[in-house]
């Protein structure tokens, strides 16, 4: 603040560059390669030089357990050949919401006025361990002492939530399946998605059981992948891409880690609260939202998300999905990318990949899956069973 001029306006954050590797089973690539690939793509997309970067954040859930490497934030710079610049680099962790939270940290860094160009990446390399280990590691995001120890894992807890939602609101098995069917149909048009094949409701229902009521097609896959963004402050954004996307709202909220400590499991209050904060900050209402990338780690998550984000009334998430109200012909296109279900879910990369998708949509670059008249998009990323939720509102056309 300059003396005698009163409080300076808080800078806004804009996304000026995106990078996104193909998601899937990257047998031939290490996590370093994935991170570098996404990072360089984002830097190139933004048209920035390495020495312009003021700060770096990386979201990742569990590189320590998955590939034995902690302390990964400096590696993003190292891999890009920028270690000599000694840029501050910080890792952010919040289970499946690690990417979304890292993005929020980047936004906050710009808003705080301490940085003009921030690079934020997300990554996970999950297929180097057995499926059983990957499941156990993914379950690190639930309460180890009071949930996992007693035999519950991530899938089982989400299954309990689904059963409760079915009991309270009459949500049906077919409505859950409709989430997977829709997102696979969307993913078929996303060249970076892990699964690019449409599926039928029957295929979902007849697949091997994971945890009642979920079959394997109700669950997002174990994936490898990385995504990266370059953010610029309102002070410098004019020198970069003309189609910068503004981060007009950022909301984060938390809840009890264990499901049993909450008054209800069928409303995720962290999501509702994060959304309220983000919408308020952006000065928008649900009616303004045209598309959303939501956290559908299990099919029930998307139903909860569209209810708790206020897109539909509580209890109507299932019927709304089955009726196609969240598809390309609906009111709000939910997960045009294919979501976690079809794009894949490299945990730490997911929150960043969601922003990449919304940016592409708002720039009008989502070939084959472009949401018409997209001006405002929302991202929603949760960790564990929703003890962390982070929601962002992005606006194009500035």
């Amino acid at each position: 603040m300059e003396r005698g001029q009163g409080p300076r306006k808080r800078p806004d954050a804009y996304v000026i560059g995106v990078g996104h590797t193909a998601f899937g089973e990257a047998w031939e690539k290490s996590y370093r390669q994935l991170m570098t690939e996404a990072g360089l793509a984002a830097i190139q997309d933004a048209g920035i030089q390495g020495d312009e970067i003021d700060e770096v954040f990386v979201g990742t859930m569990s590189t320590g357990k998955l590939v034995g490497q902690e302390h990964v934030a400096p590696l993003l710079l190292d891999g890009a050949g920028l270690a000599d610049l000694h840029i501050p680099a910080t890792r952010v962790e919040a289970s499946g919401a690690s990417g979304g939270l890292a993005f929020r940290q980047a936004v906050q860094a710009i808003r705080a006025g301490g940085a003009d160009i921030v690079v934020v990446g997300g990554l996970e390399k999950m297929t180097d361990v057995s499926d059983a280990d990957a499941q156990a590691i993914a379950s690190s995001g639930i309460d180890q002492e009071w949930e996992h120890f007693f035999g519950a894992n991530d899938a089982a807890l989400h299954a309990l939530v689904a059963k409760r939602h079915m009991a309270e609101y009459g949500t049906t098995r077919e409505q859950l399946a409709a989430v997977a069917v829709k997102n696979h149909a969307h993913g078929a048009n996303n060249p970076l998605a892990q699964f690019r094949r449409a599926i039928t409701p029957d295929k979902v229902l007849r697949a091997p059981m994971v945890a009642e009521p979920f079959t394997v097609f109700d669950c997002a896959p174990v994936s490898d992948g990385a995504a990266c963004l370059v953010l610029a402050s309102s002070g410098v954004v004019g020198s970069y891409r003309k189609d910068a996307v503004k981060v007009s709202g950022s909301g984060q909220a938390s809840d009890a880690l264990a499901l049993h400590s909450r008054a209800t499991t069928t409303t995720w209050r962290s999501t509702a609260e994060a959304a309220r904060r983000a919408y308020t900050e952006a000065g928008i209402s649900v009616a303004d939202i045209r598309l959303a990338e939501v956290h559908d780690a299990y099919t029930i998550n998307e139903i909860l998300a569209i209810e708790d984000l206020g897109f539909v009334k509580k209890g109507e998430g299932g019927p709304a999905t089955l009726e196609g109200r969240t598809g390309f012909d609906g009111d709000i296109v939910v997960n045009p990318s294919g979501g976690l279900k079809a794009r894949g879910h490299p945990a730490g990369a997911t929150g960043i990949a969601q922003v990449c998708e919304v940016v592409w949509q708002l720039r009008g670059e989502a070939k084959g899956r472009q949401v018409k008249d997209a001006r405002i998009g929302v991202t929603h990323n949760t960790g564990g069973t929703g003890a962390t939720a982070v929601v962002h509102v992005l606006e194009g056309g500035f």
Binding site: W27, E28, P208
Partner: protein, 352 residues
């Protein structure tokens, strides 16, 4: 010099365990057999191992053979479950069929493709003139740890092929063979370990599919053939799904791969798998028929072959030993407890 198969034999243990029975014990999805397209698998009896299976297959081959046992210049048994870590299986086969002693020998191991590697080695010895005939065998009593996914498929069986170059005796000429090999650790068992480890889905795309596709395409490029040139096609079959998927990817149709596909009925016989499929084809083959074969071994490699059935098959004494289909029709179903006992999966305590 043309080289080919002079005679063949096969053996599959009579015991079967159904996939539902394994799923029942472990509380797995009852549809797992359908998902793998392995509905039951063969189980070796308590007194059966790779030596006995190899001996049975070799005896069948020699019963049908127009070529005398004394002409055998080499015996190669390929397996990943040789009964001894040190001591050849081949010498037991040699003694049982009264071959030698003036012959060369070694046991082979390359996961599931040790048998096809034995055939390729035999082809070389015959074509170079070093041996008049070579007996190449692929057999396994493969292992799957209790509750591991392998338990649904790892089974037992084997086949023996007598290779030679006598134009009057060759029943199936091998025109071409091509291999594709890389260091791809999708499946392994270290010294002293009872059960193998595997890389789950890594065993699919980068391992089985890549190697089988590459070897197959190379073979057809060398031979100047396309899938429609073949009457039959047989692929290594770790389950019922993979060989069908790879066959379709290459452009083969069901009528071509149906005869050689045995995994749904007997599981994965590892080193015996593609060779038993070939035996099933040869049991009903007619002169002039062209056969495509591609074996696969984890680790990883694939060996592809281009064969043509000759007129000699008409006077070849196939009936001197029972056909594979006759063996496969005569089975005894066992429950999991019996299977566990036969396979040595029970930990025996006390002095019993």
């Amino acid at each position: 010099m043309p080289v080919g198969i002079l005679s063949y034999g096969a053996y599959v243990p009579r015991y079967r365990i159904r996939s539902e029975e394994i799923a029942r014990v472990w509380g797995d999805d009852a549809n797992i057999g359908r998902n793998l397209d392995v509905h039951q698998k063969s189980v070796p009896g308590p007194d059966e191992d790779v030596a006995t299976i190899s001996v049975e297959a070799a005896r069948q081959a020699m019963r049908r053979s127009p070529s005398p046992v004394d002409d055998i210049g080499a015996i190669y048994v390929g397996s990943e479950s040789h009964p001894y870590a040190v001591k050849p299986t081949g010498t037991i086969v040699q003694a049982a069929i009264d071959a030698g002693p003036y012959l060369t020998m070694a046991d082979f191991e390359f996961a599931c493709k040790a048998g096809t590697a034995a055939i390729q080695t035999g082809m070389g010895l015959v074509q170079s003139g070093m041996c008049r005939t070579v007996l190449a065998i692929g057999a396994d009593t493969s292992q799957g740890a209790p509750r591991n996914a392998l338990e649904y498929s790892a089974s037992a069986g084997g086949a023996a092929f007598l290779l030679g170059a006598d134009k009057k005796q060759v029943i199936a000429e091998i025109h071409h063979t091509a291999s594709f090999t890389t260091d791809t650790p999708d499946f392994w068992r270290r010294e002293g370990q009872k059960y193998p480890s595997h890389g789950e889905r890594f065993t699919g795309e980068p391992a089985y599919f890549r190697h089988v596709m590459e070897a197959s395409k190379r073979l057809m490029a060398d031979a100047g053939t396309v899938p429609s040139d073949y009457d039959h096609a047989v692929f290594h079959q770790p389950n019922g799904k993979f060989p069908v998927a790879v066959a379709r990817k290459l452009g083969f149709e069901e009528r071509q791969y149906a005869t050689g596909l045995l995994a749904p009925r007997i599981g994965n016989t590892y080193s015996g798998a593609v060779l038993l499929g070939l035996v099933h084809i040869l049991d009903a083959a007619e002169p002039g028929q062209r056969i495509f074969m591609c074996g696969y071994g984890s680790g990883a490699g694939a060996d592809a072959f281009d064969l043509t059935v000759t007129r000699n098959i008409a006077r070849y004494d196939r009936g001197a030993a029972e056909r594979l289909e006759t063996q496969l029709a005569d089975t005894t179903e066992v429950d999991y407890a019996t299977y566990a006992k036969y396979r040595g999966k029970l930990v025996m305590g006390g002095d019993a």
